[in-house]
Symmetry: C2
Subunit: 332 residues, 2 copies
C-alpha cells in the first residue's frame, strides 16, 4: 500500500519536510537570510506544472526536484550572481505518494547542496494537480552583474557545453529514438540532472582577476539556444551571426538522428541550461582557451537583422521569433 499525502496530513507532512530545510520555515514561518554587504539581492520565480513541465513517464520525482532547482540556479548563474537558497510552494493532489514528495525534496536538496545553497522553507496546499513554484534568491556585487542588454556590436558569442542533449534525453525516455546506450545515458542525464554553469562564471572571474569587469551580456539557454540568442539581440539592440559548424552538439547525436534534427534540437530543444555570453574578443579568446566555452559567432549591427545562422553550406538563414514561439507558447 502506497502512503499518500492524504494519509499523512498537513502538519505531519510539514514535520517530515523540515529536515530538508536550512531553517524551520515550512508552513507559516518566515526565514531570515543575510545578503552580503555591497551585494544586491537577485530574485527569480519559476512555476512548474505536472503534464506541462514534467510527467512521471520521463521525470522521476528526484529529477523534478533537481531540474527545478537547477533551472532557478541557472538563472542566477546567468546574471553572475551567487546562489543563497530557494523557497518552495507546492500544490499537491491528496493521492500523491509520500515517496514522490520525498524524492522531489531530495532532488532539490542535492542540487542546491552542490552549489552551497539551501531550502529556506515554503508552503504547501492541496491541489488538483502537482504544481511546484520555486523562488530562488542570490546575491551579486553590482559591478559583477551580467545583463541581457549589455551586448554591443563586435563581441564574440560563446556557449558553455553542448546543446540538444536535454531534448535527446527526452526522446530516449519517450522511446522516440534508440541511440548507442552510452550516449543515451548521457542525454538522459542532461535532461534529468542539468548542471547550472557556475563553473564557467568562476572561470570568467578568475580570468578577469582584479581588473574591472568589462561589459558582458548573457543569459541561460533554458528556452533553447535560438531563444537565448534572440533575447540577447532584442534586449541589447544588436544582431548576432552564429556558425552552425561551431555549435557543439552532444557526442553521438548527429549519427543517431541526423545532422538536421540534431541542430534543430540544439537550437530549439530547450532545457539545456547552458550559458550564452557575449564578450569582448580578447576575453572570449582567453575563456575559449580554458576549454570551458566554445565561440559560436559574433554580434553584428542590428541593421543586419537579428539572429542569422551560417549553415554548413555557407547559406545565411535568419532565425526568427516564429521559429521558437511553438516553444514559448506551449504553456498555454
Amino acid at each position: 500500500v502506497t502512503e499518500t499525502i492524504g494519509d499523512i496530513g498537513e502538519l505531519a507532512l510539514i514535520e517530515r519536510l523540515k529536515p530538508f530545510c536550512a531553517v524551520d520555515a515550512i508552513g507559516d514561518d518566515a526565514a531570515l537570510m543575510s545578503v552580503r554587504s555591497g551585494h544586491q539581492l537577485v530574485v527569480t520565480t519559476d512555476v512548474l506544472v505536472e503534464g506541462v513541465h514534467f510527467s512521471d513517464r520521463t521525470t522521476p520525482p528526484y529529477s523534478v526536484g533537481w531540474r527545478s532547482a537547477a533551472a532557478n540556479l541557472s538563472d542566477l548563474a546567468a546574471m553572475g550572481a551567487e546562489p543563497m537558497g530557494i523557497t518552495v510552494g507546492l500544490g499537491l493532489p491528496k493521492q500523491t505518494p509520500w515517496s514522490w514528495v520525498e524524492g522531489l525534496y531530495t532532488g532539490l536538496s542535492d542540487c542546491l547542496c552542490a552549489h552551497d545553497a539551501a531550502i529556506y522553507g515554503g508552503d504547501l496546499c492541496r491541489a488538483s494537480q502537482l504544481v511546484v513554484s520555486i523562488t530562488a534568491l542570490g546575491e551579486v556585487a553590482p559591478q559583477r552583474l551580467i545583463r541581457r542588454d549589455a551586448a554591443a556590436e563586435g563581441m564574440t558569442v560563446v556557449v558553455t557545453g553542448a546543446h540538444g542533449g536535454s531534448r535527446a534525453g527526452l526522446a530516449v525516455l519517450l522511446q522516440e529514438i534508440e541511440g548507442d546506450i552510452n550516449y543515451a545515458q548521457d542525454w538522459v542525464r542532461a535532461h534529468q540532472m542539468p548542471v547550472p554553469r557556475f563553473d564557467a562564471i568562476a572561470q570568467l572571474r578568475s580570468l578577469i582577476g582584479t581588473s574591472p569587469m568589462p561589459a558582458i551580456a548573457g543569459m541561460d539557454s533554458s528556452d533553447g539556444l535560438a531563444n537565448a540568442l534572440l533575447q540577447l539581440c532584442h534586449s541589447s539592440g544588436v544582431g548576432i551571426e552564429v556558425f552552425q559548424n561551431a555549435i557543439p552538439l552532444p557526442e553521438g547525436l548527429s549519427n543517431t538522428v541526423g545532422v538536421e534534427t540534431a541542430f534543430d534540437w540544439a537550437l530549439y530543444g530547450g532545457e539545456d541550461f547552458e550559458l550564452v555570453l557575449c564578450l569582448p574578443d580578447d576575453l572570449a579568446n582567453r575563456l575559449v582557451g580554458t576549454g570551458i566555452v566554445s565561440a559560436i559567432g559574433q554580434t553584428t549591427s542590428v541593421h543586419s537583422g537579428e539572429v542569422h545562422l551560417i549553415r554548413l553550406n555557407n547559406t545565411r538563414e535568419p532565425i526568427t521569433h516564429k521559429s521558437f514561439t511553438h516553444k514559448s507558447f506551449q504553456h498555454f
Copy 2:
C-alpha cells in the same frame, strides 16, 4: 464574449502584466533588489488554491489579490519586518478570463502600494486549477526582530483589532447569516480586504523610541487566534491564560450569531490577520493606552498547561490543539 488567457497567449499576457510590476521581471527575468545595510532579509511563501483558499462565490479576483498580498505582508509585520515586495507564481487554466487575472494583479498592487511594496516579477504557466504562489520579501534590523519563541512567563498578551470578522464576512457571502447591513459590510470587508498591521508595529517602535527593544514575542492570527496563542506557547515554552470577556469581537456580531458562535469564530475562524503579541507589562500598558491593541491575558508557567480560556462564567477551559486541527488540516 469573454477574453480568456488561452486567447491571449503567454507572451502577450506577460506584456499585459508588466505595467503591474516594479521591474520587467515576469517570465524569465530575475529582479534586483537592495536590502538596507544592517538589515536581514525575511522571506515567506504562501500558496493559495482555488476551491481551498478562495472561490468565485465569496472572493472576486481583486480580493484574491488583495488578501494574498495582505496575508504575506502580515507575516512580515508579525516579525517586525518592513515589506520590500513579492514575486507571483501563477498556475492558470486556459479558460481563465483576462479580467480575472487583471483583477488579481490590481488587488495585489493596491495592497502592496499601500505599504510601499511592489511586485518584483514572477512566472506563469497553464494549469488545471488556479494556483497563486506568493513569496514576500522584507527586511528587518536584527535587534528589532519579533520572534515566536521570545515569550517568557509574566508577560501581557495583546491583540490588534477584533477577531471573528473575516469568518463573519464569509458567512454573509455564503448567505449563512444575514446581519444588520452596516455591520455585514464591515465583516465582508474584513474578509475580502484585511489590512496587515504595520501600524501597530510602528506604534510599538514609537513607544520604544531609542531604548533597546525588550524581548517581544508575536505572530499573526491568520490561522485563527487560538492557533496563534498555541503556537506562541509551543515555540516559547510558556502557558497563556486569556479572558473571554477581554477578546474584542466585531461590532454587532454577538447580537447576530450569539455570544458562543461569535467567540468560536474569534478563536477558530481564522484569516483575521491581526497581530498577537506578548510584551513586558509596562510596554503592553503603554501600547494599550494608545488604543491600537487590547490586553487579552498573560503568559504563565508552561506547567499550568498551554492555552486556557477564562470563560464569562469564570470557568477555566483548555484550548487544545485538537480544537484547531480541523482548520489546519482542511488543506488536505
